[in-house]
């Protein structure tokens, strides 16, 4: 049991930090520009495919350095030549633009890399178990992921609190009009944030593509969960995104282990109902099956009852 808890904690940390890398960019983009970027997970996918392509050519380590800026550049171009033109039609149009973009990126990935998963293996240098506790191994690659994401977290924190551009971004998070009034070049800041957020997503892709599967559906599976993270964490709050990432990862990880269903619960209080039809299905569902859909439930409830999120300052 102890073994299970320790490894579940570690695993939820790894997944949580990966989610944070994705959601930090998204929450910055959303709170500054008001754009709910549906293509964010597509940038993550592009990161994975770029990483795969570069690492088959010249190796994983160069890919780790080159791929994220490439994705960031792509993101900046999208902002400059796409999103900015749509801005004048309002938020709905911007949102739909990103929906369409996600669509095109997925089809483009299908076209270039094929419909099936690609072989994107763990780099040789990291392909060993770093420690074994009880009977379970913890792979060096997971440790590496943890290391990278913590480094990114620290770097992000430093940039946002210690640099000039960081302070402008922070100001823009809470008072978007203020920044404009202060005479800063807001479009440039937007492009920077969009590109930076995309680059972060790209980095998450480069390392996440190995950890998970690099396939055209990877954006669609991860996309909605990132929204859940920023909603639960609260719009515009990086700390919120951080907490929510870890929280959601932990929920998903630990719910797996709880094999109780509604009927078990009822049996606990002495009710043993013989039911049929749809009730029987409901009765049968164990908490462990619901792990990955719990976040959506969580999101809907938060939006209904606490639209600020856990740590947000503004309503969505």
């Amino acid at each position: 049991m102890l073994e299970y808890i320790i490894f579940s904690l570690l695993n939820s940390l790894v997944l949580g930090m990966l989610l944070f890398m994705l959601s930090s960019g998204l929450t910055l983009i959303f709170s500054m520009m008001g754009v709910l970027n549906f293509a964010h997970a597509s940038f993550y996918m592009l990161g994975a495919y770029f990483g795969y392509q570069i690492s088959t050519a010249i190796g994983f380590w160069p890919a780790l350095i080159i791929a994220p800026p490439l994705v960031g550049l792509f993101g900046a171009l999208v902002e400059r030549y796409g999103l900015r033109n749509v801005h004048k039609y309002g938020h709905v149009a911007e949102l739909l633009f990103t929906v369409g973009l996600a669509f095109i990126i997925e089809e483009g990935v299908n076209l270039i890399w094929g419909r099936n998963a690609v072989t994107y293996p763990i780099p040789k240098l990291l392909d060993f178990p770093i420690f074994t506790l009880f009977n379970t191994e913890f792979s060096a690659y997971r440790m590496f992921m943890l290391f990278i994401s913590v480094a990114i977290f620290i770097a992000l924190y430093w940039i946002l609190t210690r640099t000039r551009i960081g302070l402008i971004i922070q100001a823009a998070l809470t008072h978007p009009q203020m920044v404009n009034a202060l005479g800063h070049n807001v479009p440039a800041v937007f492009m920077l944030v969009f590109g930076g957020g995309s680059a972060l997503a790209g980095l998450a892709g480069v390392i996440g593509g190995i950890f998970l599967v690099t396939e055209p559906a990877m954006a669609a599976t991860l996309g909605p969960i990132v929204f859940v993270v920023i909603v639960v964490g609260g719009m515009g709050s990086l700390t919120g995104a951080f907490v929510a990432s870890l929280l959601l990862a932990a929920i998903q990880t630990f719910a797996v282990g709880i094999e109780y269903s509604l009927s078990d619960l009822l049996a606990l209080v002495g009710i043993r109902a013989e039911v049929g039809g749809i009730l029987k299905d409901l009765w049968r569902i164990q908490l462990s099956h619901t792990g990955p859909i719990l976040p959506y439930l969580f999101m809907v409830l938060i939006l209904m009852f606490r639209p600020k999120g856990l740590m947000g300052k503004r309503e969505t």
Binding site: V99, I104, L111, P224, I293, M299
Partner: protein, 418 residues
């Protein structure tokens, strides 16, 4: 007579078109396509009750469509078994009732705010329903869905609905009824106040309306029509699966509505016809249809945010002022580079699809009656040159069009003040 025609002419024309179309396009495929278009028109218009008229961007409208379809399918099976005395022609109402019930509950829960909050809640509810559809097989039938047989004894018209053409006419009648009802709804106090809430919910509260109640009612009514469309779906296909409540169906209706244009009542009708056609016909022609579809959508968002109907309606005053002849030459001028640019892009896309999905990339490919090798540098070069040159002349031509437009609008304004 003339007044009557002016008022109801468009409806008469619609009826006429619905009657005549299957007589012209007689193949089984065309009639299936037309049937699906009818269903899609109801669905898209009901979606526009949210997005266009109520300002609610939903990512989960298929929930009501699908639930309507499932309930209708269960009802159909009961009708077939003789335990439910409802004539099959009224089955869409069963779907509608399912839509209303679900819409009332989920509508109330999600309409406290519009905009992004609403959009995200609808996304979440959509995901939840789609996920539970697979987890609750006794209602949703699991992966295989629920099947039924529409040939039942209980009918009021005497048709057996074994033939697709009979089903088509049933769908057409329901489609016309629903379109008329939805049109009339826009003319009612609720319809108008929904517009007011869309434009300015704070202000709407100070003319006596609770924005949430308005949204919930509008949402519920939209869910009714979505459910009715789902009911027709059940009759038409005699099978309904969990995918009808899923994200893809929700996304598809969003695209139909947006491409058609949310600003005018008839916009979603155009969108539903076009997108259904693309989904069902284009897919048989090119593997790349999804990409064309995505490009079309993004193109519309970027350059024609009011959709097809917006493009058409912009010309209404010009047409009335008999100024079209001034615009047409400029349009002709811009059409050519567009055509070239599009051809270039199409060649490039088709080459790539040929390389990735054809039987054998080495085989020559056929495009527009020309046969060539996909690897040929000529084809690549040509397509690139066409795209670049097309873009270049497109920009030139665009300024001509803009010039003409400003001339025409000057004249129009002059006409107004005179």
């Amino acid at each position: 007579m003339i007044i009557f025609l002016k008022k109801f002419g468009i409806w008469l024309a619609a009826v006429l078109i619905c009657v005549v179309l299957p007589l012209i396009f007689r193949s089984g495929f065309s009639i299936s396509l037309l049937s699906q278009m009818g269903i899609a028109i109801i669905f898209a218009l009901s979606y526009n009750m949210l997005l266009g008229q109520g300002g609610m961007l939903s990512f989960g409208h298929a929930v009501y469509y699908g639930l309507g379809g499932f309930l209708a399918m269960h009802a159909l099976n009961r009708i077939g078994a003789g335990t439910l005395p409802i004539p099959i022609e009224l089955l869409p109402l069963v779907g509608g009732v399912a839509g209303v019930l679900a819409g009332l509950v989920f509508g109330w829960l999600s309409t406290a705010r519009a905009s992004t909050t609403f959009a995200l809640i609808s996304l979440g509810i959509g995901e939840l329903i789609a996920a539970s559809a697979l987890m609750l097989p006794s209602f949703f039938g699991g992966e295989q869905g629920i099947i039924g047989d529409r040939v039942v004894k209980l009918t009021i018209t005497g048709f057996r609905f074994g033939k697709q053409i009979e089903v088509y006419y049933l769908i057409a009648v329901w489609m016309l009824i629903c379109v008329a009802l939805m049109y009339l709804l826009t003319q009612t106090p609720l319809g108008r106040v929904a517009n007011a809430v869309r434009d300015n919910p704070e202000r709407a509260a100070f003319i006596g309306y609770a924005p949430r109640t308005v949204r919930t009612l509008q949402f519920t009514l939209a869910a009714f029509f979505a459910g009715a469309a789902g009911g027709l779906f059940a009759i038409n296909y005699e099978i309904i699966t969990a995918e009808t409540v899923g994200a893809q169906a929700s996304g598809s209706v969003l695209m139909m509505t947006y491409i058609g244009g949310v600003g005018h009542f008839f916009g979603p009708i155009l969108g539903a016809i076009l997108i259904t056609f693309m989904q069902l016909s284009l897919a048989g022609v090119t593997h790349a249809w999804l990409l064309y579809f995505g490009l079309l959508f993004v193109g519309m968002v970027m350059w024609a945010p009011n959709g097809l109907s917006g493009i058409i309606m912009v010309h209404e005053p010009v047409w009335k002022a008999r100024l079209m002849k001034r615009l047409l030459p400029a349009y002709g001028l811009i059409a050519l580079p567009c055509l070239i640019m599009f051809l270039g892009a199409m060649i490039l896309i088709e080459i790539n699809y040929h390389l990735s999905l054809s039987i054998n990339p080495e085989n020559p490919m056929h495009l527009l009656g020309i046969t060539f090798r996909a690897q040929s540098p000529v084809a690549w070069g040509l397509s690139l040159v066409m795209m670049v040159a097309g873009f270049f002349f497109f920009r030139k031509a665009r300024s001509v069009v803009q010039e003409r437009w400003s001339e025409v609008s000057q004249t129009l304004k002059g006409g107004l003040t005179r």
